[in-house]
């Protein structure tokens, strides 16, 4: 377990994280190929952890280790090009077509154009957007769900071993969301990336994560498989589960 960890946070402290969050000794070990969903209230430090992993932030104390190397030792740009990143508001560049957006990282890596074109077609097909139709479109011509798929395609384009997703489906309507959840599980079954997904929605975390971690008071309160977490008695975890019981979402799993 210790050696096969793709991403590891050891005693990470950070006094000024994203959105005023504070981390007080986060320990987290994520295995290669698993999907970890991090849940917590706003300002709990979920996004901060993602930014620590790709070097946008640096820990005050403790270690963030990716592929066996502390992020402080990584060349930040090299590190980021090995990590796919999907943002809440997608962040597609409005002055680039879908194909150009998806090809950003391969271009940074200096792939030759033919290889980039082939790869762009491949990942667009993977996220369910045929290149023949969508490659030359502009971001403003797409629906919210299509933009999100392009965001995922862009993150996967350079075939990075790690994928970070920050509230990727937060802004979508429930039907589109459920559809993209299914798509995500299909894609993940196919590509087997190490995925860290951040959400404030426990339902989403349960739907996508092979393990779900709850962030509270600047640390991981509990991290476990959805089935085990559902039975948690931890007072920091229970309130987050309540809406699921009310909606009856966990009834099937409980039974």
């Amino acid at each position: 377990m210790e050696t096969s960890a793709a991403i590891e946070l050891r005693g990470v402290h950070l006094s000024r994280g994203a959105a005023g969050s504070v981390l007080r000794g986060v320990n987290l070990s994520i295995c290669s190929g698993e999907t970890v969903a991090l849940v917590g209230r706003s300002g709990a430090g979920k996004s901060t952890i993602l930014k620590l992993i790709n070097g946008l932030l640096t820990a005050d104390a403790g270690h963030v280790i990716v592929d066996g190397r502390d992020t402080r030792e990584w060349n930040a740009y090299e590190l980021r090009r090995r990590i796919g990143y999907v943002l809440q508001d997608v962040g597609l560049f409005p002055h680039m077509t879908v194909a150009t957006n998806v090809g950003v990282v391969p271009r940074l890596l200096g792939w030759d154009p033919a290889r980039i074109d082939a790869r762009v077609d491949e990942v667009l097909a993977l996220v369910g957007l045929p290149a023949g139709v969508f490659a030359t479109r502009w971001p403003h011509e797409l629906s919210g769900g299509q933009r999100q798929r392009v965001g995922v395609a862009r993150a996967l384009a350079a075939d990075p071993p790690v994928l970070l997703m920050d509230e990727p489906f937060g802004a979508l309507d429930p039907v589109t969301r459920a559809e993209l959840h299914r798509e995500f599980r299909r894609i993940q079954a196919e590509v087997r990336k190490t995925v860290v997904i951040v959400t404030h929605d426990m339902g989403e975390a349960f739907a996508l994560g092979s393990r779900v971690g709850v962030l509270a008071d600047g640390a991981i309160a509990e991290i476990a498989s959805p089935a085990r977490l559902a039975r948690s008695m931890d007072p920091r975890v229970r309130p987050l589960l309540e809406p699921l019981f009310e909606a009856g979402a966990l009834v099937g799993r409980e039974a």
Binding site: Y77, E78, R80, Y85, L87, P94, H95, M96, V104, R154
Partner: protein, 517 residues
Amino acid sequence: MTLVQFLAGHRAEFFGLLMQHIVLVGASTAVAVLIGVPTGILAARRPRVGAPIVWLANVVQTIPSLAMFGFLLPLPLVGGLGARVAILVLILYALLPIVRTTAAGLRGLDPALIEAGTALGLTPRQLLWQVELPLALPAIVAGIRVAAVIGVGTATIAAAVGAGGLGEYIFRGLSMVDPTVILAGAVPAAVLALTADGLLLWIERAFGRRGNRRVPRAVPAAVAITSILLIVVAATTASRRTGPVIRIGSKNFTEQIVLGEIIAQAIERNAHVTVERRLNLGGTFICDKAIRAGDIDVYVEYTGTADTAIFKEQVDTDPARVFARVREHYADAGLTLLAPLGFENTFAILVRGDDARRLGLKTIDDARSAARSWQAGFGYEFLQRADGYPGLANRYGLRFGSPPRAMDLSLIYRALARRQVDLIAGDATSGLISAYDLVMLEDNRRYFPPYDAAAVARSATLLRYPEVRLALEGLSGRISMGDMRQMNRAVDAGHDDPAAVARAFLARLERGRQSKG
């Protein structure tokens, strides 16, 4: 004369001035972009450095342009007459809008896009070129638009420092009180401003169209080409400065411009120096100041004008005495008055050719008896001045049948030709004298002061370049009153290019010398 006629008649000159104008604005805007955009980027990245820069550009913008030209003229290196000062001033004015919109365009970008770019692994430089600049491009182009339009307007004032451009027509028109000539500068300048604005707006829209906002590869190339051009321009001006340069000036009317061209071309033919033309500078005082300051080396002055207007002497009608005194005054100032060119530009008492031939009139004295039945026509100034009509009537005992009619100078020649009047006071070198078959009566009692045209040159220049002195002396006594009238007529009535007229005259002079030799 309508504006269209004027422009058609001055085609060559007009396009020359238009090109100068475009080069002034184009060069200064290009330099302002090269300086302004990076400054704007700096201002957006480091507000603490940027704020004072924007503040400074703001202050510069508040200085009236004429004051700015006046302020920079005496400075060494950038100062002096000409395009150098003009371009510097135009750059200073163009900077603010460009710096400001660049900074504002970059600061106004969605931070999520910057974060996305960073998270994808773009370096700050890649982020700037691939994301930030393309997205800020419409704002930057909008700033360049404002700068170019301001530039076209401000560049008209550049004519005041001898940088040329369409402003030359405006200043010439103002000094001639001719609205057509003013419009010949103002209307094309306005059209140019609108064209530049429209063109840049089109570019702005082309970039602004959603999606198509990648910085084209052509942009760095265009920047590089512009820089190279500027270096070439700088190099050529620098190399010019190292070689010997003779600057020829002139006042701002036809005869002066033709004479300036004749002198410039005579020097070009006979001396191995570069000649720079600073023609159409303005009035007597501007030319006098310029030659004393060394901004020009040669221009043509009239002895009577120098005597009374520059050296403030009493009116004197003895040509030799006036010439000797003026020459002495000039010598004290380090200037040399060369021997007269051969004609004088004085007041001329004119009658119709047929009257002169029928009555055998040669001198003003001859006209005294005929005058009793004649109607005279004079300009307002000539009628009023003591050294005008009152003195003339006194000296010659002239009496007309009815009081002289006051007329505008521009109409007076035609009025004589059409027999509305029978005798006028005109300009001795006017091209209209031969055009209307008029005859100038000799001032046999020497009433008018002498206005012999003669080149004034900086003595130091003549010492250093003896071949320039030779070229100037070669013109002494060679330009007759008839030559000058004909050349004025060719430019004013025939709308010929002054440079071409001068060239033809020098060629004739050359042929005359060869046939004699």
